[in-house]
Structure formats: structure tokens, C-alpha cells
Amino acid sequence: MTTKIESRVTTNETVIEVAKVNKWFGDFHVLKDVSLSVKKGERIVICGPSGSGKSTLIRCINHLEEHQEGRITVNGTVLDENLKNITNVRREVGMVFQQFNLFPHMTILDNLCFAPVWARNMPRKEAEDTAVMYLERVGIAEQRDKYPGQLSGGQQQRVAIARSLCMNPSVMLFDEPTSALDPEMIKEVLDVMVELASSGMTMICVTHEMSFARLVADRVIFMDGGEIVEENTPDKFFDNPQIDRTQKFLSQILAH
């Protein structure tokens, strides 16, 4: 993976609009006036030290966390108390977690069919066909009848990506998808993500895989202390960071 994936942003259509969002955990101010706008087909990488609010930000986008102030709009739907709106947004927004979170009591195939059948009322047969298609796409169709516990971490994460794709989402959120993986398994997951990016999927990735960011991202966002510190194209972000906090962070993570 060396050639830069060309930008797929063709329209001005905004998919996600985060406006002046504030959030507190108890008294801890975790998101401070965060604003972010994501266009259709755009790939965004968010990085920053732990506790900077980057995971919280993307978890607000599918309302796994509730923001207290500001406004989040996904595909024109405003996220508020309305459970129906929330569920509709979640069907449109796929999420991949650091700990995979596959359902251990279901086979791989059942993991993939679960949401299409129970959230979209898709007939089981059709859901299976879709599932097999995505399993082939992430390269583990032969594991369909196994249970998650029988797969390696990298395979589980690829299944988790396929499981999200089965809902045919318009946006994919990645919350540190490679942080729990052995070094040798990171690449197989990143390859799937790069392939997904080149297919034109709108993606927001919280990750510290800087090679991935350079290759795929249209924009890199650096967060610290609950706010967006710096935001730029990957080349400018990595080669010429404007703010001292960003410079310090990059020198720390690129040093090793």
C-alpha cells in the first residue's frame, strides 16, 4: 500500500454536520465546542492523545454517547431524544470498535445476518447472500460457520467490518480498529479499510496508523483536551504542522 488513494469527494453534499458540540462526563468537559463537517465520500482521520475526546466525538455521531449542547445532523436527520431518529441514523452509520464486539454466541454468518434481519426485516435468505458477499470481500468466506472465539483478532475485526457493511451504511466510523491487534494482523485490517476507502465509502477513522492516514485521508484532524487543535490535508499535517501541540504529538508518535 503505497499509492495515495485519490479523493472521491465529487459533490458538495454534507453527510455529517457537527456544530458546536459540548459534552461532559460528570464535571469533566470532554468535548468543547467541536464543529466538523463531513462530505459524501470524504475520508477523515482523527488522532490525538488518549482522553482527548476523539472516541467520544465519533460515538456521539451514532448516539452511543449523548451530547449535551450543540447539534449533530446525519444525512439530514437531527440527533435528539427521538429514539426513532436515533435508530434510523444508526442504520445509516456503521461502526467498528477497538474490541471487535462480535456476538460470541452466534456463528460468523449469524453475526452478519443479525442486523439486516432484525433491523431491516430483510428475508434470511437475502441477508445470507449479502453476508457471504461481504465475507468474500474481506477474505474470510470459508470461516462463515465458525464462532468468533475460533478466529484470530485480525479475522474478527474483518468480520466486524463486514458485519457493519451488511447494513449498507452510507458512513463508516472506525474507533481505533487496529489498537487491540497483534502487529502482524494490523495490515490485514488496514488493507480492508484501504479497499473500502477506494470504493468511495465516507469514513471517519480514529487511529494512530499514520501510514494509513497519509495514504487514505482527505483530512487529518488532531484533537487534544476535547477540542480540535489542527485540521489539514495529510501532507501538510505531517510535513508542516502549524501548531506547537501538534508538532509535539507528531514528534512523540513518529519517533519510535
Binding site: L64, R90, F103, Y147
Partner: protein
Amino acid sequence: MTQITSEADTKTFEPLAARGAPTRQIGPLNWLRKNLFSGWLNSLTSLVLIGVLLWVLPVMINWLFLDAVFRGNGEVCRQSAGACWPFIYEKIPVLMVGVYPQELIWRPAVAGVALLALVYLTFSDRIRGFVLISAWLALPLFALVMIGGAFGMTEVNQSLWGGLMLSILLALVGVIVSIPLGVMLALGRFYGSPLVKALCIGFIELIRGVPLITILFMVSVMMPLFLPPEMIINNLMRIQIGMIFFSAAYMAEVIRGGLQAIPKGQTEASLALGVSPNRTILFVIVPQALRHVLPPLIGRCIALFKDTSLVIIVGLLDFLGMIKGAALDPDWLGFQTEAYFFAAFVYWLICYSLSRYGRALENRGPNGAKR
């Protein structure tokens, strides 16, 4: 990327071929030394226990088989030092169904055969999932129809039901109803709104804070005083409801323990896929929670079966009640030991089978102990 080494220096890594694990020599003498006599304390314990066995076993075998009477009447039995088995044979019908009308005894027998067939299918893992659950839900209804009589069959009043049949019926209906009820109480306590939570906690703590006997007295004696006279619920059903409540309160706490063990990520993953909270709980959380608490859940089922023996206090003649009655038969006076031995054996057989089935369930499935 830095160049780690030049081509010329590279050696090829050849993995070692895997060897089989060394086989252990286990002769009988080695086994004895290793397992029973591995130190002076172990040797002493073993010797004492072997001594106790050598003392108890011959006495038991003599009483059970060698000196026992297998054919004859009370007179023959009283002349022998061993157990009196003809007494048990003669009492078998009464122990099984109590004072149920003799000419209709085939009906509970059919229900019993259906139960045994279903137990066989379940234990041997021939039916699963939806079929398994439906069959177990249908069985008590079938048994009630057969025993009580409906659809033109002669009705048999519930006051005539008794024996092992009654014990099993109480336990079976109790387990089948109290597990779903326990799940609902646990969910209410775990996820419910403050009001629902308070109601569930109140119910659970109220029932758990009272001995079963008190509950049985309440439903049997007190409840009719509070209900309007036109609302007549028969005694057996009231007692059944009491047992279900009692069992459900305990099941709920066991299941709540299982709910707490499910990582938050499971809920989040399901919600993030757009599955509704209710379906998430039903299909993602509850199945995993039940699997986690299988051992204590089976324990509660066993406890419920044994607790049915308390209904004798409120006037039902279950298996143990019939055993007591049989021991008082003037033709067979003095054979209480045999009666209670038989009772213990039947209770043990059923509970041990349940326990074995529970163990088999634990070993099955994706996270089974044997994988």
C-alpha cells in the same frame, strides 16, 4: 523503511517439526501411589476412607440385596433382617399417582411416557432450539389435559392428584413459568425505569425474605380470604402460583448476575447496527446471560423440585406425602426405612439427571467448557 539486513546475509528460517506429547506410564500401582498415597497425610486419609467404605458397604449390600426379601408379604419380611422390597412394589401405583382413580390410571401413564420420551430426546440432543422449547411448553399442557381430563374425557378433581406425578407437575410447570418470569424481573431490575425497577426489587426482596412454607400458607389459607368469593382459584393452582413466585424471585437474581457479566460493547455493537434496544436485549444480551448462569440456574431447578415436597404442609399429597402414608399402612407396619430409602433414591435419580444434563449443556455450544 530501513534495510534490516542485506540479501547475502539472510538465512532461511526452518521451523522445527512438531513432536507428539510424551506418553505417561500409568500402571495401576503407579496410579495408586500418585493419587492415593502421595504423602503421609494423603495416605492416612485414604486408609481412613477405605476403612469406612469397608465397614459401610457390606452392611448396605447385606440390607439392600443379600438379606433382602424380594417376594412375599409383611410376615415374611418381618422375619428377615434385610429390606422388604415387596412393600415398595405393592405401593408403586400409589406412590406414582396417589389416590387417582384406578380405572383412569392410563391417562397419567400416557403423560409420563410423553415426559420420558421428551427427556430422552432432550438429553440425547436430538431436538434443539425452537422445537425443543415448544415441546417443553406443550408437555405440561398435554399432561394437565390428560390428568385433569378435558375434551370429553372424565374430569378428575385436583384433590385426587398426588404422588410423584404431582411433584413432577409442580416442578415442571414451576420451572417452565418461573424462568421467563425471572428473566423479566431481572431485566426490569437491570434496565427498567425507576418505577419498574422499584416494583421488581420490591417483589424479589419480599418473596426472598420469606420462607417458602410461609408463602405456601399464604396462598393456600390467606389468599381465599382476600379474593372476591366469585373468583375461585383451586388450591393446587394457588400453590403452583406460590411456588412460581418463589422460584422466579431466586431465578431473577441469578439471571441478573448473568446480565452484569455481559460487556457493554455487546449492547453498543448491536445498537450501533441499528437494532432496537428491545431486540438487542432479547437476542444479544439474554442468551449470553443465560449461558453464563447455567450452573446456578440448574441448581435452582433442582432446588425447586425438592421444594415441592413442602406442599404436604398445605394438604397436597405429593410423592413424599404418599411415602409417609405408605409407611403407615397397617399391613406393612415397620418398613419406614425402605419407604424413605426409596424416596431418597427417586429424588436423587431425578436431581442427578438434571445435574448431568446441566453439565452437558455447559459443555455444548461456542463457549462450552469442552472445546
